[in-house]
């Protein structure tokens, strides 16, 4: 499959949904086959595939949306690593080619209880801020796209708002910081 050369916007939530749907249809059966051949369950295949999608997304965030065959290969490679990590006794039964061996698995740490609670609190009191921060720091959308998606007249006012949001979250963390030291479990 050849990359489409059409000018595409950076992945936003609509683009994400389409991408995940396409990859589900195209790549999930391959991951399911890999997992079922190793006596894994449907749930194992689902967990591994979904984590692989997250890892892929973090890799391509901020880039123009173009799905290529390399993404398929990448997901399968990551899925194999995730399988090995979860069921490491099986390492000998999973053959990795050079491309797959070179892949590095990022750390998928889960938030601590305190961080999880803080996120829930912020979702109730400042969802818009969280969404804006997510769009900038995680989805890596350019500021002009964020300004228009969040309804700011220009990049400057959106940027000021972004820093206000950072300040708001920081102050909340500060307020609670006595209660916990560790942020990530």
């Amino acid at each position: 499959m050849v990359a489409t050369q059409v000018e595409t916007p950076i992945l936003n939530s609509n683009g994400r949904e389409g991408l995940f749907e396409e990859l589900y249809e195209r790549v999930f059966p391959l991951v399911a086959k890999f997992v079922s051949h190793r006596r894994g369950t449907f749930q194992d295949a689902k967990d591994i595939f979904q984590d692989a999608l997250v890892i892929l997304y973090e890799k391509i965030a901020g880039q123009a949306l173009e799905v290529r065959s390399s993404e398929e290969r990448y997901i399968l490679g990551i899925a194999k690593h995730l399988w090995i990590r979860t069921y490491h006794h099986d390492r000998v039964h999973v053959s990795l080619d050079d491309f797959e061996s070179a892949l590095l698995l990022p750390d998928l740490s889960t938030p601590s209880l305190a961080a999880g609670r803080l996120i829930e609190f912020l979702e109730r009191t400042g969802k818009r801020c969280l969404e804006m921060l997510r769009a900038f720091y995680y989805d890596k959308l350019p500021m002009n796209q964020i300004a228009s998606e969040f309804g700011y007249g220009n990049v400057h006012s959106a940027t000021v708002q972004k820093y206000k949001c950072l300040e708001k979250v920081r102050d909340e963390i500060k307020k609670r910081s006595i209660a916990y030291e560790d942020f990530v479990e």
């Binding site: 995940f20 079922s36 295949a45 938030p111 803080l118 921060l133 720091y137 989805d139 500060k174």
Partner: protein, 89 residues
């Protein structure tokens, strides 16, 4: 921008390696004498990890929604069966 926001911007550049050498030198000089600024740097690092956790959670729920849609769509019954069959051999 307010001073507090300017500091947030400055800390962000510091953490993400975006300060020019002169600005970095000035920032380190301030860090040496402003314990509060040092604290703010630590808090701001936590803000970035919190944003990542939040985004991560949201992304996972978006992916789960796609999963549910695909596996409940009557028009995709062939796809569903092809996958499910793999696990009932």
């Amino acid at each position: 921008m307010k001073t507090s926001l300017n500091d947030i911007q400055l800390i962000e550049l510091h953490l993400h390696g975006g300060l020019k050498p002169k600005e970095a030198a000035a920032f380190y000089a301030r860090l040496a004498v402003e314990p509060l600024l040092r604290l703010q740097v630590g808090f701001q690092q936590k803000v970035y990890s919190l944003i990542k956790m939040y985004a991560h959670r949201k992304l996972k729920s978006e992916i789960e929604a796609v999963h549910q849609r695909i596996f409940r769509d009557p028009e995709r019954i062939a796809f569903q069966q092809n996958v499910l069959r793999l696990f009932h051999a």
